[in-house]
């Protein structure tokens, strides 16, 4: 879709429409600037026209240069491989904008984030509780992502208000932040009457480390290491989204060889995590044999990563301009041989799971997230696909995946079984894709180019194993990062979990949770 078609589409929905500027910044990005008064209507029109949820909504502090804050809202026009970014300027002394949350629910979390981080008020928002800066430890009036934030100023502390469910026999079960297993911290508050869960409220932010602020002022090359530590089990996806944003801004074209290598590593990351989750689901129903079996396969994949790249978690592989690790003939052979063995073992694992009637009975219809709810919440990635939403960036944005005839996998029922089936299907598809990509690797080609940085802003995106990892970057003339907004799929998908568990019993919560397998640190930043 070109700019004019989009404008015509918006005009169709609400008659007259004047944009301040419309630019096709890159082939896959259209930037539309409107006046603050039109922001809400424009977003609503695009939301309807593209039937896209809000993928990103974030602010940027440009007071030093222009005396304004900007608000940017990102919609995906997936079918045509495009991102549409609506932006407004707001003067610094009138720091508010019209809230979208009442009409587009998927904007809700983002608005709360903007409010706590920048102190820009979404006017008319139904919920302005803080997400990450917990009231108990962070005084009011401190907005860390403002550029002039230096030191914490003393102020009032407060408490967090949980949603309350009241009535006869309703009681609350608080769990966390420290859980029984070896896992990240988060607080879950269940309201139950008898066994079934009536309401689940997740309070996160415990692993908040201020990642977005840390990015600012760093050079792109050194900041890759930070991107790798945003979510440790998706370190390659994060570094890839980061480097793609930097490359797009600077107009760097990476060698074809590096494109294939990146895809191979991305699929390897997907494989070890999917098999880990399948094992995790078995653990959570007390089915220990397949979980042990899955952990052996995971270990084999981690060792394979180690052998190919000298890092079990694919760290220090990516760089701006390409990759640092290549695969020679010997390594290619090892990779292909290992994949064959892993595939055999994986097929056995699937057989074990599918042939256990009690296991299948336990996961069938458990933790169902219906398509309508999923769409409303703006859930993304694997969780959305399990509920029947065909959204996979690999299908729509990547030419090499198109070449390899990538088939998007979806399920309809949205329950734990659907997510299990999807993980199995994606694992097998990943093996096939890696084999195709390895076949396309050529010998002795360059795998990276020397980057020269330019000023600009762009969106980097990757379909990681959980879903789309998005990086919005702004680089200044010196090549330093001015703003880096990170959205890990976990951020949006945590809400999906709150709805999926409704009506299920608390003992099934770990199972539902594992089938989502979200990252605490990715969501908390």
């Amino acid at each position: 879709m070109v700019c004019s078609e989009i404008i015509a589409g918006i005009k169709n929905i609400f008659g007259t429409f004047e944009a301040l500027s419309v630019t096709q910044a890159y082939t896959d990005e259209i930037h539309i600037k409107v006046s603050p008064g039109l922001f809400k209507d424009t977003c609503l029109a695009l939301h309807k026209m593209l039937s896209s949820s809000v993928y990103m909504l974030f602010a940027s502090d440009e007071r030093r240069a222009r005396g304004i804050f900007t608000i940017n809202c990102v919609f995906g026009n997936l079918k045509q491989g495009q991102w549409i970014i609506i932006s407004i300027d707001i003067p610094q002394d009138e720091a508010y904008f019209d809230s979208l949350a009442k009409t587009i629910y998927s904007a809700s979390l983002f608005e709360r984030e903007i409010w706590e981080m920048f102190g820009i008020q979404p006017k008319g928002s139904p919920d302005l509780r803080r997400l990450r800066l917990h009231n108990e430890v962070w005084p009011k009036g401190n907005y860390p992502l403002r550029k002039d934030f230096q030191k914490l100023q003393a102020g009032d502390l407060g408490d967090y208000e949980f949603d309350r469910v009241e009535g006869d026999g309703v009681f609350e079960v608080p769990v966390g932040p420290v859980h029984a297993g070896i896992i990240g911290p988060g607080h879950f508050r269940f309201s139950v009457a008898g066994e079934p869960i009536i309401n689940l409220e997740t309070r996160l932010g415990f692993t908040h480390r201020g990642v977005e602020k840390l990015f600012e002022g760093q050079s792109c090359i050194e900041a890759i290491r930070l991107a790798e530590c945003v979510s440790g089990d998706a370190s390659f996806a994060h570094s890839l989204a980061f480097t793609q944003a930097a490359e797009k801004i600077s107009g760097i074209f990476i060698p074809k060889q590096a494109v294939y290598l990146r895809a191979i590593f991305l699929e390897l990351e997907r494989m070890y995590n999917h098999v880990n989750d399948i094992g995790g689901m078995a653990v959570d129903v007390g089915f220990s044999f397949p979980s042990a079996y899955a952990s052996v396969i995971k270990e084999a994949l981690l060792k394979l990563n180690d052998l190919l790249t000298a890092s079990r978690y694919l760290k220090k592989v990516n760089t701006v301009g390409g990759v640092l690790k290549s695969l020679d003939e010997n390594k290619k052979q090892i990779l292909l041989d290992s994949l064959k063995r892993i595939e055999n073992d994986f097929n056995e694992l699937v057989k074990i799971l599918y042939s256990s009637v009690s296991f299948m009975d336990r996961i069938d219809t458990t933790g169902a997230l219906r398509r309508k709810t999923a769409e409303g919440l703006g859930v993304v990635g694997l969780i959305a696909r399990a509920s029947g939403i065909p959204a996979d960036l690999r299908e729509y944005f990547s030419t090499i995946y198109k070449e390899a005839r990538f088939k998007i996998a979806t399920e309809e029922s949205g329950d734990v079984l659907a997510r299990l089936k999807l993980r199995i299907a994606e694992f097998k598809e990943s093996i096939r894709l890696i084999e195709v990509f390895v076949g396309k690797l050529a010998d002795d080609k360059e795998i990276n180019v020397n980057p020269e940085f330019k000023e600009g802003r762009a969106l980097g995106y990757v379909e990681g194993w959980r879903g789309p990892v998005l990086y919005w970057m702004e680089i200044d003339t010196a090549g330093l990062i001015q703003r880096c907004k990170v959205v890990d799929p976990s951020f949006l998908n945590w809400q999906g979990l709150s709805y999926a568990v409704l009506g299920n019993i608390i003992p099934d919560f770990p199972l539902c949770n594992k089938s989502f397998d979200l990252s605490y640190s990715g969501g908390d930043l």
């Binding site: 911290p185 415990f206 480390r209 952990s295 270990e299 063995r341």
Partner: protein, 175 residues
């Protein structure tokens, strides 16, 4: 059930031989794991009676350290056979294993977990972030490394430390 039995018999005991098809080719640290393990076991026997119980707390790690600690419990490394157990409650623990830089939000929870442990107790910091905050140094929301908050007696370096490193660090410490 038949599937399980078939695979159980076909695969044999992975822990000792480490011969699941997929792990065969990719050279292995089997011998070193076993050697390190038996040493660890004798040390634990000497110093802790029979076993060492560990409670893990994540105070802001990226999740990679957790993944490796879980891997140390998989059938290949099988930390349990050397007498090291990960427990669900701090009340059962001899040691606290902390990963990640300490986020402001986790400070209270970390202190409470430590207080809930019975004496004698000690703290282990796992990973580079727990050691010196790693890339999160100087963040507005990080209180500091674990050693700034609790008395840390053992550091396990690495980003993340692999399972064998975790085992070897424990041995070096117990000596």
């Amino acid at each position: 059930m038949l599937q399980i039995l078939k695979n159980r018999i076909l695969k044999g005991i992975l822990t000792r031989r480490i011969e699941l098809e997929s792990s065969r080719v990719i050279g292995d640290a089997d011998l070193s794991v076993r050697r390190a393990g038996s040493e660890l076991r004798s040390l634990i026997r000497k110093k802790f009676g029979r076993s060492l119980h560990i409670r893990q707390v994540d105070t802001g790690s990226c999740g990679a350290c957790e993944s490796e600690i879980i891997s140390a419990n998989n059938p290949i490394y099988d930390l349990q056979r050397f007498g090291v157990n990960f427990v669900a409650s701090p009340r059962h623990a001899d040691a606290l294993l902390v990963t990640g830089p300490v986020s402001k939000n986790m400070l209270i929870a970390l202190n409470k977990t430590y207080e809930a442990m019975p004496e004698p107790k000690f703290v282990i910091a796992c990973g580079d972030c727990a050691l010196g905050c790693g890339p999160f140094k100087d963040s507005y929301y990080v209180c500091g490394a674990v050693k700034d908050i609790l008395p840390v007696v053992l550091h396990i370096p690495g980003c993340p430390p692999n399972p064998l490193q975790i085992i070897l660090s424990l041995i070096a410490f117990l000596k």
